[in-house]
């Protein structure tokens, strides 16, 4: 019996819509408080953000954010808070860039080697936190934050003349040796700037994420541990092994975060390599509720807001307003989902109660005629998975 449940559809849409509307209302109030007219600002954002070159920018930025979101989401699904994506991707991109600059073999081989180097470095750096957690009981939140800082210091140490760095004295820049042109990844040409070819890999990563988590035994174990460690342990899952493995996967995914920039834009790791994307990834994963498509929407929204901030500044608004919008959206999403979840549970309990009462009245066992198998024990659904 596959009845289309209208109420459930409404519930699913309610949370994100509530969040975005809430964020817009708060932002409008902030704009009013600063003495600016909010609707013109929103108009500027939409108008500017939908231009051709803005779209290219948004797609390119979202590619990076999407990968960061996935990396964080792998941890979230396991109830692990990997704040270290930031350090992992920077260290990974740095060593990948250094390795790529030192080699000059055909791009068909070299590009995969660069990507693999990044994934391995990211995974190893993340594994430190995983191993510390299972052997010494160190919270991954603390260790990954410290590892972020350490990653910066390690890069700073190697990014010097005579080590792995090359100084451009006139430009005051220091960077790794540039990748040979054969290792520049393909681009999609548009009428303005090109769209990063790495977007293909990002989509692929999303598909793999979805498949592994929801269609494999491993993914099931991972989600089981995320929901209840003791229950998973009791059913024969080695929690320690899962913690280390998922940190490895999260780190490997984080290793990909710097790749669009490295292989499609900068071709070197210098002092101007973007930082802080790991933290954006946390926000994006929260927004997307760890769902591969949701993360994609979150990444696009984030990139759009950042693009729009440039337009706002040009029109004389404070660009910080976009920071306010972003912050409020994350808060609103968390609150909205919680509200909707609670409402959903109450509603389900009421339904089940009604079903039981009906069954009792007709003298039959509960749910015997219901092919969906939906009952009190099946729990709400995936939407309520614990995030942070």
């Amino acid at each position: 019996m596959k009845k289309f449940d209208k109420d459930r559809l409404v519930l699913a849409v309610a949370a994100p819509v509530l969040a975005v509307v809430g964020a817009l209302v708060v932002t409008a109030l902030v704009l009013l408080a600063t003495g600016k007219e909010p609707f013109t600002a929103f108009h500027v954002m939409i108008d500017y953000g939908s231009k051709t070159d803005s779209q290219v920018y948004i797609l390119n930025k979202a590619t990076t954010y999407y990968l960061a979101g996935l990396a964080v989401a792998v941890g979230f699904r396991m109830n692990l808070f990997n704040i270290g994506v930031d350090g992992q991707y920077r260290l990974a991109a740095f060593f990948a860039a250094a390795a790529g600059g030192a080699m000059s073999i055909p791009g068909v081989i070299q590009i995969p080697v660069i990507i693999l180097t990044a994934m391995v470095v990211g995974a190893l750096w993340a594994a430190i936190a995983g191993v510390l957690k299972v052997t010494r009981g160190v919270s991954e939140v603390i260790s990954t934050i410290m590892l972020n800082s350490l990653a910066g210091i390690v890069i700073g140490y190697f990014l010097r003349d005579g080590r792995l760095g090359v100084t451009d004295k006139e430009a005051n820049m220091i960077s790794t040796k540039p990748l040979p042109s054969s290792s520049h990844l393909f681009n999609f040409t548009t009428s303005t700037d090109p769209v990063f070819g790495f977007i293909v890999f990002a989509v692929l990563a999303g598909v793999i994420y979805w498949f592994v988590l929801s269609r494999t035994r491993f993914g099931f174990d991972l989600r089981a541990v995320g929901r209840s460690e003791s229950a998973a342990e009791a059913s024969g899952v080695s929690v320690k092994k899962m913690v280390v493995t998922s940190m490895l996967i999260s780190g490997a995914m984080a290793g990909l975060v710097g790749m669009p920039t490295l292989l499609n834009q900068s071709y070197e790791y210098g002092t101007d390599f973007p930082t802080g994307i790991g933290f954006t990834g946390i926000a994006v994963a929260l927004l997307g509720r760890n769902n591969p498509i949701g993360i994609g929407v979150g990444a696009l929204l984030w990139a759009f807001l950042e693009r729009a901030s440039n337009g706002l500044e040009f029109e004389g608004y404070d660009k910080e307003i976009v920071g306010v919008i972003q912050g409020v959206i994350v808060l609103a999403v968390v609150i909205a989902y919680e509200l909707v979840r609670r409402y959903g549970i109450t509603r389900q309990q009421r339904q089940v109660g009604a079903e039981l009462a009906a069954a009792a009245r007709s003298g039959k066992g509960p749910g015997s005629g219901d092919g969906t198998g939906r009952g009190p024990e099946s729990g709400p659904d995936d939407k309520q998975e614990v995030t942070a």
């Binding site: 231009k51 890069i155 820049m173 498509i293 040009f314 660009k319």
Partner: protein, 342 residues
């Protein structure tokens, strides 16, 4: 519900794609050709950093007032990418602003690219050299002014320990570090120089006063009594820490920080500032464009042409002025060669 949410998400994505197709064809930056005045792109910290960016802002304000031209300001944020910077310059040049001044060496690559796109617009780049016919590369011999700061620090310290705090451990800040250390050593070899950097590579180092405050506090606790901070807006934090310790001196950077109203509370602790006259360079460029003879090529600002200097406001260094003048003379005449790498 999962299935349903996927259907919705797919709907949203396809709707977004549909929208994006309809908006195709128009670009956010198109050459409008009109002369709207100066466009300026700041480094992180932006106007109000009491230091580097503010110096450029002063130069622009002066020119805007004098020539009665328009202006547009844009500011970099922490952790941006190359495309953000290109975009910013593109907006300004495309919006009809001429000249377009890029404040900070991080704009090097973006100026190279965007200057090619708008050959009729004059660009200015601070702290970097861009080889293009329509670019004015403004470089500053900051090691020379830092040398003088080192001389002042060596003469003023009572504990024989002075400190240097750099925002980011890069080549540019290295010139401040090198000049300062050399100035101290040449004046009083027994004085120890403690050097610390806020961040290894992250440009956030120019925008993080709390971190500078912590570093300065640590130095003060270990007996350092003169601290020279080259870290843009972060310098505020260091000056604040120094001001809380009687007898300690802060040396400001880029702007004359003694004169800054926002730092007025602490000005009795600001010994002097190693000034980098980005304002002069910015003003010169705007003026040259206004006069129809755009300044281009590499222009070096040093002690000899007063492009860098040591401020005297507050009068705290008037007792050692003769020694400072002597040192300055030796640098100008070439007797002293100041190294630009630590």
């Amino acid at each position: 519900m999962r299935r349903v949410s996927k259907i919705i998400a797919a709907g949203v994505v396809s709707a977004a794609l549909g929208l994006s197709v309809t908006a195709c064809g128009s670009s956010s930056s198109s050459d409008s050709g009109k002369d709207k005045g100066v466009g300026i792109a700041y480094d992180v910290g932006g106007r109000g950093d009491h230091s580097f960016n503010d110096s450029a802002a002063r130069g622009m304000d002066k020119a805007v007032k004098e020539f009665k031209i328009g202006s547009k300001e844009q500011t970099a944020s922490n952790g941006e990418t190359e495309s953000d910077r290109e975009q910013r310059l593109d907006l300004l040049a495309g919006g009809g602003y001429n000249p377009v001044v890029a404040v900070g060496f991080t704009y090097g690559d973006s100026v190279t690219k965007i200057a090619k796109k708008y050959p009729k617009t004059t660009f200015g780049i601070v702290d970097s050299v861009v080889d293009a016919p329509n670019v004015d590369s403004m470089v500053f011999a900051t090691e020379q002014s830092s040398y003088l700061a080192g001389v002042a620090a060596a003469l003023k310290t009572k504990t024989n320990k002075v400190g240097f705090i750099g925002g980011v451990h890069n080549t540019l800040i290295g010139t401040f570090d090198a000049g300062f250390a050399q100035g101290v050593k040449d004046t009083k070899p027994s004085v120890q120089v403690v050097r610390q950097y806020l961040y290894e590579t992250d440009t956030k180092g120019f925008n993080d006063p709390t971190s500078a405050q912590g570093k300065a506090q640590g130095m003060l606790d270990s007996g350092v009594d003169v601290i020279y901070t080259a870290a843009g807006l972060s310098g505020d934090g260091s000056i604040q820490a120094v001001a809380s310790k009687p007898g300690a001196w802060a040396i400001g950077v880029d702007s004359d920080q003694y004169q800054d109203p926002a730092l007025a509370k602490y000005k009795d602790h600001i010994l002097t500032s190693a000034i980098k006259n980005v304002d002069v360079a910015t003003y010169d460029l705007i003026k040259s464009v206004h006069d129809g003879k755009p300044k281009t090529g590499t222009n070096t600002y040093n002690l000899a042409n007063n492009g860098v200097s040591l401020s005297t406001s507050g009068g705290f260094i008037s007792d050692i002025q003769s020694q400072l003048d002597a040192a300055k003379q030796k640098i100008v005449s070439g007797t002293i060669k100041v190294s630009s790498t630590p």
